[in-house]
Symmetry: C2
Subunit: 340 residues, 2 copies
């Protein structure tokens, strides 16, 4: 049996002060004499006092919960588990540091009442903050719903920097440009790109980065070729098939995310095309899988975990209101010199 849980009254009595003073000390409010503060703190540790969250919630209209909201992958059989897990890990790290807990809430966009439901969750649980993952962070109605709850929220990769709104971004465009330049520097001239779901602003930025590089390379490389994927492994297969069956197939394929790149690798293997000897393949995200594929995937490490961590820190008041976390090139086995 555990010793009966002590309340703010017990602490107050022991320290010889009022409950309000205990409250002040616990919440680090100003205007408490040092001596008093110390007496209270002593009592707190002696009694192992930990404030009751429910009571706090009720009285203060805020909980100690942070909500992580993202697109429900099961809704579409999206194999994007790496994306989600990474975000969760980052968010959890920051939660731990700030003594918060994490509530996860995937949204099924096909449902008509997503916004109503989202509002209910935020209000019912009195979340103290919400992290809105891409691509939701870029959808008008979703953002509006969250905003209407008056709960602080951070948008992850909202596509562009926003004034007066919390957000965390990464340099998708720049990173995509770097990757394309890297491929060009290996001697590739026909570099194709597989784009993804246009809802996902980060993904469109990657397209732009690819185009930037292709344009800058000018005559040295051939025209941009962009195939339309939807971020899924299967669309990677399909796009690869289409691209590789051209009369003059590309010698390098850069996919807007790793899942699609995995599809490309798979298709190349099916078609008997060796990677990277005959075809170089690059991805974007650096999901766990990227290191386990055969060949291992050259990709761009998107700091999803750090981004989510930053986001939560913003909500707990431990970070600036804006953060840009840089992505970086990870060169592995799936890319090599262009074939002669």
């Amino acid at each position: 049996m555990q010793p009966a849980k002590s309340t703010i009254f017990d602490v107050a009595k022991r320290a010889g002060v009022s409950i309000k003073t205990v409250s002040r000390v616990v919440n680090r409010e100003p205007n408490v004499r040092d001596a008093t503060r110390q007496r209270v703190e002593l009592a707190v540790t002696e009694l192992d006092y930990r404030p009751d969250q429910s009571a706090r919630n009720l009285a203060s209209h805020r909980s100690h919960l942070i909500g992580l909201v993202y697109e429900d992958p099961s809704a579409y059989e999206l194999p994007s588990s790496g994306y989600i897990i990474n975000m969760q890990q980052g968010a959890l790290r920051a939660c731990r540091a700030a003594m918060r807990e994490l509530l996860i809430h995937p949204c099924d966009l096909r449902r008509k009442d997503v916004t109503t439901e989202l509002r209910s969750v935020i209000n019912d649980a009195r979340l103290s903050g919400v992290v809105l993952a891409a691509p939701l962070s870029n959808m008008e109605r979703i953002v509006r719903a969250v905003k209407s709850t008056n709960t602080p929220f951070v948008r992850l990769s909202p596509g562009r920097r926003l004034r007066n709104q919390l957000c965390v971004v990464t340099n998708d465009r720049d990173a995509a440009r770097q990757m394309t330049e890297y491929l060009a520097s290996l001697g590739h001239r026909r570099i194709a790109f597989i784009s993804g779901n246009a809802d996902h602003a980060a993904v469109s930025n990657r397209v732009l980065g690819y185009e930037d590089a292709m344009q800058a390379a000018g005559r040295r490389v051939a025209k941009p070729v962009i195939a339309a994927g939807d971020n899924s492994f299967d669309s990677g297969l399909a796009c690869a098939e289409q691209l590789l069956n051209r009369k003059r197939p590309p010698t390098a394929i850069f996919a807007a995310n790793d899942d699609m790149a995995a599809g490309v690798i798979r298709m190349a293997s099916r078609m008997g095309i060796s990677v990277p000897q005959e075809l170089s393949i690059a991805g974007f995200d650096d999901i766990t899988l990227a290191r386990q594929m055969d060949p291992t995937l050259t990709t761009i490490r998107q700091p999803l975990a750090s981004m989510a961590e930053h986001a939560v820190s913003m909500l707990t008041g431990n970070a600036d209101t804006y953060a840009s976390v840089p992505a970086s090139l990870k060169i592995r086995e799936s890319t090599g010199p262009a074939p002669k």
Copy 2:
């Protein structure tokens, strides 16, 4: 602006009853006349009344939150994201059905204070129930910590059926036996097994299933060969290397989970051994990745999502106190007839 939130008092006034009666109706308590119940229900819908969760928590000492507790994968760089995501999806499904929300809490077992911390989380958030995933569901100190909070909890794959305790299991042993028999039926005689982390009771059951089948097959197949992995992709690589370098290497390798099986496939490819022509490989779990590998992986579909869904349903009172969800064989490309 939204219409001011209505409270139990508003409903009571409108229905011409006391707040207690409203409470009874909302909570489906007995001893309310039908006519009264209907009047209240009408008022509830008219005013769009939704009880305040924080107030409920405070008064009833229970929240509407379910906790999902699992081993922290980031602690060990475990690539088991598929496992976690699947569980989450199942748990979320049941939460949605029961109007609950899900709080996730990975445990870092290396920390000395895991149990203290776990208790705090459960108590602070006043979780109404906890789902304890394997292998935590099988660790004495963890289970004890959860039990000490007097919060209802369900153990996932605790290794054996437990009396008077909520748990959800699957037929690991039987499924492993089936897979082994299947391999034998393809003509394989030297079938090796890669076992995993012994903490994970489900995994030890798989070893037993393998042994069952090998024993039953008697003289027809060679003696069991078991290599010790630790559930990770890398250990799959290592064990495969060791097994395949034997004088008489196995013609089939059955790994206790898909991550290790992926490692085996990878090693075979490195060593120039063709799968399934020269070597058959089977896994266990059916993670998303299993369908994306090359060749696609023959494995056992472990119904993790359903298991977690069941678990949450138990906690919300919508299911029995015990469930066994069957696993099933998924034959794909990585297995084939034994080489001559």
